[in-house]
């Protein structure tokens, strides 16, 4: 038993059961022995391999978007420092969420599901706080956020429609690399993976969407990340369960 964890008082009446853990186990059955019998050396996983693979797969969507569709018309008029800061924020959000979802801590085989969901939610919160403060708009060049709830909602849905497919690519790539690792807490890991994919979509929107204004950025861009995290939480357990069959 771990002394550091044993901070709860042990009930005096607890029977001495820990010793029974060393009881006999049946020998490996023939099917297991057959599988082991024909085995060879395998190439094991590195801690950062899955992270690199999903990041590379996830970047395909933003690159395609930027290559095939026009960049925002006010890009040249934007402050380069703010643009770099904004881009770095989205990239950091993506990297942080992806790392907790896929990179195990030193000495572990599996990523920590609890840490993944916590960091995933923190990332969404941090992005929301950032966009509630400044916005990347240049008077006269950036498009104004549409007036009225209906037009605002439509503009947000357009951006979410661009962001979500990018997030789903990361999510599917993440499910593919996680399917053999057999982690528990897929829902929690899905939150981080979805947030990472969403942040990748947000990074693409930074160069694509010309609409400035807090309401649009928080609802359409950060809200899209939150939605991607929700999709991740719902979709990853299903994808992992299917691939385990």
């Amino acid at each position: 038993m771990n002394a550091k964890d044993d901070d709860l008082p042990a009930p005096a009446d607890m029977p001495p059961i820990a010793g029974q853990l060393d009881g006999p186990a049946p020998p490996p059955d023939p099917a297991l022995l057959r599988a082991v019998g024909g085995m060879g050396a395998v190439r094991t996983r590195g801690r950062f391999g899955a992270f690199a693979a999903v990041l590379a797969a996830g970047l395909v969507g933003p690159l395609l978007l930027l290559a095939l569709r026009p960049l925002r018309h006010d890009l040249a008029a934007l402050s380069p420092a703010l643009l770099v800061l904004d881009g770095a924020l989205w990239l950091a959000a993506c990297a942080a969420a992806l790392a907790v979802a896929l990179v195990p801590a030193r000495g572990d085989v599996l990523p920590s599901a609890g840490r993944a969901s916590r960091v995933g939610l923190w990332v969404i919160g941090a992005l929301a706080v950032f966009y509630l403060l400044p916005t990347l708009d240049t008077p006269g060049a950036s498009a104004l956020a549409p007036d009225g709830a209906g037009p605002l909602l439509r503009s947000c849905l357009r951006c979410i429609g661009v962001l979500l497919p990018i997030a789903v690519v990361s999510l599917i790539a993440g499910a593919l690399v996680l399917r053999r690792v057999l982690p528990m807490g897929a829902r929690r890991i899905g939150i981080a993976l979805g947030a990472a994919g969403g942040a990748m979509g947000g990074l693409a929107l930074l160069f694509h969407c010309p609409i400035a204004g807090r309401a649009h950025l928080v609802l359409g861009h950060v809200g899209g990340v939150a939605l991607a995290a929700l999709v991740g939480a719902l979709l990853l357990p299903v994808l992992l369960a299917r691939s385990a069959r």
Partner: protein
């Protein structure tokens, strides 16, 4: 990592390198406690023995996912946990449980450590029987937390990884399990004293 984790890590490295003897060493090292864990979760020894074989088969199939140098013990517990949950879900879906030869399975009482109910009574007496009966009344997630942290000696972080939750949740569940267990065990003695 402690000595046992280092030993398991070295065995796992040789296993992934294709050494068959390393598989048998890993099995000898971990099968008894994985069996005890599965028995505690599912409550039947024959089912736990089947799940043990499934668990090691999954470990074998997933060995390429192992990160060399890492402690494989929590990972193998996680695979056992997942295998057991899958079986429990499958059982919930099926209306009748049959054994391999097609007969209805008997459901012997068992405890979290894997001791049979009849042997247990002889060995540990009335108190142990009361403790084990009380354990069976705990909700599943509290029982898991208690078994992993207090019986199998896993840290809160490891138990959280095995069950897919947070260390805080594990601590809370283990604490609640302890409190419930103590209350459940106190009742029969209070009755006797009265």
């Amino acid at each position: 990592m402690d000595g046992e984790a280092l030993e398991a890590s070295e065995i796992m490295r040789r296993y992934c390198a294709g050494e068959q003897a390393a598989f048998h060493q890993l099995y000898t090292l971990l099968a008894p406690r994985i069996l005890a864990y599965l028995w505690g979760l599912i409550g039947e020894k024959p089912a736990a023995e089947d799940l043990l074989q499934h668990t090691f088969l999954k470990v074998h199939e997933a060995r390429a996912s192992y990160v060399v140098g890492a402690n494989p013990i929590p990972w193998i517990y996680t695979i056992a946990h997942r295998t057991c949950l899958d079986e429990m879900r499958r059982r919930k879906r099926s209306r009748v449980r049959l054994t391999r030869d097609g007969t209805l399975a008997a459901e012997p009482a068992a405890d979290i450590t894997g001791a049979a109910a009849d042997a247990r009574a002889d060995a540990e007496g009335e108190l142990a029987t009361a403790a084990m009966a009380a354990l069976e009344h705990l909700p599943g997630n509290q029982r898991e937390a208690l078994i992993l942290t207090k019986v199998h000696g896993r840290s809160h972080a490891e138990a959280a990884m095995i069950t897919g939750t947070t260390p805080g949740a594990i601590k809370l569940r283990a604490h609640r399990a302890y409190v419930t267990l103590r209350q459940l065990m106190a009742r029969p003695r209070e009755k006797k004293l009265a």
